[in-house]
Structures are given as structure tokens and as C-alpha cells.
């Protein structure tokens, strides 16, 4: 990984990931059509997160690039999650 030659992702990999992403889109449409109450939002967000993870790992090459980028992305996600948690604590317990 550290050598000068950069990792070349085969086009076939992208085709598989794309099929996966489209399948997840239709699953999320199907899931939200069923009345699950509170779980509808959670389900849709979990599927969206899964899709983002695929895009970040493969399309954005995080899986193959320098580890530091992965650490940065993880930190940004944590910062965002913390802000969401603090905001909702404020609104739910005021």
C-alpha cells in the first residue's frame, strides 16, 4: 500500500457496488412504505448510512487510501453525532 504505484480498483467492483446501492435504495423505499411507526425513520437512516459507507469506502477510495483519511472521516462523524446528541438533549429535556 505504501509503494508508489496507486491502487487501481477494477471496474467490475464499481458495478457490484452500484448494484448494491440501487438495491438498498429500493429496499429503503419498500421499508418506509410499511407502517413501522418510530422504526421507519431509524430504518431509513440505517440504510442511508449503509449506502454512504459503501460510497465512502469504494467510490471515494477510503478502503484503499492512506489510513489518516479514514481516521479524519471517523472523527467528523463523531463530531456530528455529538452535536446531534447535544442538540436533542436540549430540546427533549428543556
Amino acid at each position: 500500500m505504501e509503494n508508489e504505484k496507486h491502487h487501481i480498483v477494477p471496474i467490475k467492483t464499481y458495478v457490484y457496488i452500484l448494484i448494491g446501492l440501487i438495491a438498498l435504495t429500493f429496499i429503503s423505499i419498500g421499508v418506509t412504505h410499511i407502517e413501522l411507526g418510530e422504526f421507519t425513520t431509524a430504518g431509513a437512516l440505517i440504510l442511508a448510512s449503509l449506502k454512504s459507507w459503501l460510497v465512502l469506502s469504494y467510490f471515494m477510495h477510503l478502503k484503499f487510501d492512506n489510513v489518516i483519511l479514514r481516521i479524519f472521516v471517523a472523527l467528523i462523524v463523531l463530531v456530528f453525532a455529538a452535536v446531534v446528541a447535544i442538540t436533542f438533549m436540549d430540546y427533549m429535556y428543556r
Binding site: 464499481y14 440501487i22 423505499i29 431509513a44 454512504s52 442538540t87
Partner: protein, 206 residues
């Protein structure tokens, strides 16, 4: 004999550094949209009924088509990087052309979608909208602002890809120096990720 000087015209090429810079910019974009998503979440929490009624009005079909369009365009720009790394200029160009065409198709769909809402008298500040409840005004305000900001990013993305495309034609971006193509790809995937969350939040969850 301590230094080997190369007589290259542009020697300020730093693949890792350029990419890191692009990622840092992408983080600011993620936090920009992230803030808007939190605003949406809080107002939905405070006005569940109004958000439910307003979200029912959005066209899931158009939203789903646009989702698939963006996903395919993300895949094609990723493929163009592989093609350029393998020095297949023809395939690189075709993949970028498809990406730009899909982006424009997305915008055309958006135009018709917004057009339908506007012809029903729903647009920021319209008399019809102002007669609705506070929650619905908030929903449509966020809908137009967030999808509008996203559409603006699509336009910037197409312009970025077009610049890279012209540099590929001039061989300025090539199999050895392709970080600009990678960075335009990163930007395009960011636009895709934002839509991945916009679609379920506005169109699916009612």
C-alpha cells in the same frame, strides 16, 4: 552531487497533499449540510403532524429516479479514474460524458419537480404557503433551501468535471497525474452522499 534536479515544468505535484486538501474541504461541506439536517430534525420533532402532511405531497417517484441517476453517475466517475489509471483515455472520456449527462438529467428532473410545486403556488414567500401552518412553512422552506443548495452543488460539480475533462483532452491530467480527476470525483461523491440522506428524509419518511 547532492541534488538531482529535474527539468520539469510543473514540479509542484503532491498527490497525497492535494487529496488531503480536498478532503478537508469536503468536511466543511459535510458540516454545512449536517447543520441543515439537524435543523430539519429539530423542526420535524417539534412539528410532527405538519411535516407528515407536507412530506406526503412530495413525489417519491421523481425522488427515486434522481437517486438512481446520482448513484449511476457516481459509479461512472469512479470508473473514469480506473480508466485513466490504465491510460484508456477513450473510456475515461466516455465515462465523464455519461456523468455530466446524468447530472444534467438530474437538474432537469429537479426543474420539473420544483415547477410542479411552484405552479401549485408553493414556493418560499407565496400567499398560498403563508396560509399554511407554521410546520408546513418550515418544511417547505427547508425543502427548497436544502434541495436548492444541493442543486447548486450539482451545477458546481458539473463545472468542475467539465474543467477536468478539458484538461484530460489537453493531456494535462493523465495516467501519471490524475489527482484532479480524483478530487472532482470526491466532490461528486459528496453530492451523492448528501442526496442519499436528503431522499429518505424528505420523500420517504412521512
Amino acid at each position: 552531487m547532492e541534488k538531482v534536479t529535474t527539468t520539469h515544468e510543473h514540479d509542484h505535484y503532491d498527490h497525497e497533499g492535494s487529496k488531503l486538501g480536498m478532503w478537508l474541504f469536503i468536511f466543511t461541506e459535510l458540516l454545512l449540510f449536517g447543520g441543515l439536517f439537524i435543523t430539519y430534525a429539530v423542526y420535524k420533532y417539534l412539528n410532527p403532524e405538519a411535516f407528515h402532511m407536507a412530506a406526503e405531497e412530495l413525489n417519491v417517484g421523481v425522488g427515486a429516479i434522481n437517486t438512481v441517476i446520482l448513484l449511476i453517475s457516481s459509479a461512472t466517475i469512479a470508473m473514469s479514474i480506473t480508466a485513466l489509471q490504465q491510460n484508456n483515455i477513450r473510456l475515461t472520456k466516455v465515462m465523464l460524458e455519461i456523468t455530466m449527462m446524468l447530472a444534467i438529467t438530474f437538474l432537469i428532473n429537479k426543474y420539473f419537480e420544483w415547477g410542479a410545486k411552484i405552479s401549485h403556488g408553493i414556493y418560499p414567500g407565496s400567499d398560498h404557503l403563508m396560509e399554511m401552518s407554521r410546520g408546513e412553512i418550515l418544511f417547505y422552506g427547508l425543502y427548497f433551501f436544502m434541495t436548492g443548495l444541493h442543486a447548486l452543488h450539482i451545477i458546481v460539480g458539473v463545472a468542475f468535471i467539465a474543467v477536468v475533462y478539458s484538461k484530460i483532452l489537453k493531456r494535462k491530467v493523465n495516467a501519471e497525474r490524475y489527482v484532479l480527476l480524483e478530487n472532482s470525483g470526491l466532490y461528486w461523491h459528496l453530492v451523492d452522499i448528501v442526496w442519499i440522506f436528503l431522499f429518505p428524509l424528505f420523500y420517504l419518511i412521512t
